[in-house]
Symmetry: C2
Subunit: 180 residues, 2 copies
DNA sequence: GACTATAGGTGTACGCCGTACACTTGTCAA
DNA sequence: TTGACAAGTGTACGGCGTACACCTATAGTC
């Protein structure tokens, strides 16, 4: 059922995946859904957690920088596949996949030598960038900025990596110099 | 009318500022609103542009780094005042204040010596961070991360500035070394 | 002063939405 | 055979955006 909801939202947008529409898609009456989910909010929670499950979690033992890089890129890709989730990832009450992911990231950063406080900062700045970028990407096509860029080889993945590396460089420097 | 809509959304959230509720607030019948606005989307566009108007635009002649810093901080504050706008700033079709702001930022960056391409990158990474951070901030209170931090002097403004300066440092370095 | 165009407000109605509540049905354990 | 229980059904309510036809007061022209 969550799978169906995600597929529907992928195909026709979030507002199309209404309880009624989803029920119809499943060949069932709307109220039947409420036997599996308390309400629409809980449905959204479940859908968002599916997306979280698609993001690659950083392994503990790995070199932190490339682990973080892979995680960020996989997050962007997941959000590109499910762009309806972009506004929701940080708003919904976190599900199991979300918590597992958070633990993995924090673990990886602590392991790498970041202090608890700095790891929080590092996590925060990365996620802010990832989610903010995904949000931008959804709309960039109509901004006049984009109009002159495609022919000059503009690529969202490259743009994303540019900012990501800038941030990771900063974090790396901050780790080496033990900046607070 | 836009003013009233913004006030209503500030007070009771975006979903509370429905056409019907807004009309009621203005002592008028719902359909009366449609004499001033084509539909709800256009209303949202107007509301978002009001928020854009509250963000400090960087002056052309100023030192770019502090100008960008002030702009970012004022943007975060505007989004804190109008947190309903967070998901919308980049999704709506841009209004006059939005365009004016964009021009000011690009002008300031070009003036500072960034190439066109790099200015795009710089703009993109900053905005992604600003909007992404604002989005996080809306929810951070329920994340378990926050639970242990308030007593240890945690402050969202400080957190924001930490990441912002990390990014600005990166941009500054990139400007000095003429990195592509 | 009479006439009319127009901006703004009104009332009704339609089809969506989420969901409360009471009901049926199919399955399986005791 | 019985009874509990998970899953599906049907009806109904209040809220939403908004299409469409109507009214009314003001302002400009002759």
């Amino acid at each position: 059922m969550l799978r169906a909801a995600v597929a529907l939202a992928d195909a026709d947008g979030l507002e199309a995946s209404s309880m009624r529409r989803l029920a119809q898609e499943l060949g069932v009456v709307p109220m039947a859904l409420y036997k599996h989910v308390a309400n629409r909010n809980e449905l959204l929670d479940g859908m968002v957690d599916i997306v979280f499950g698609e993001i690659e979690s950083p392994p503990l033992a790995d070199d932190w920088r490339s682990a973080m890089r892979r995680r960020a890129i996989s997050a962007r890709e997941a959000l590109k596949r499910h762009s309806w989730a972009i506004g929701l990832m940080e708003t919904r009450t976190p599900g199991p996949a979300n918590l597992r992911h958070r633990n993995a990231v924090m673990g990886c950063l602590r392991e790498a030598g970041f202090s608890f406080q700095t790891a929080i900062h590092a996590y925060s700045v990365q996620d802010a960038y990832i989610y903010g970028f995904a949000q931008q990407e959804r709309t960039r096509y109509l901004a006049e900025i984009a109009l002159k860029l495609p022919e000059s080889g503009y690529d969202n993945a490259v743009e994303f990596a540019w900012g990501l590396d800038l941030i990771l460089d900063g974090l790396d420097r901050c780790l080496r110099t033990a900046r607070p």
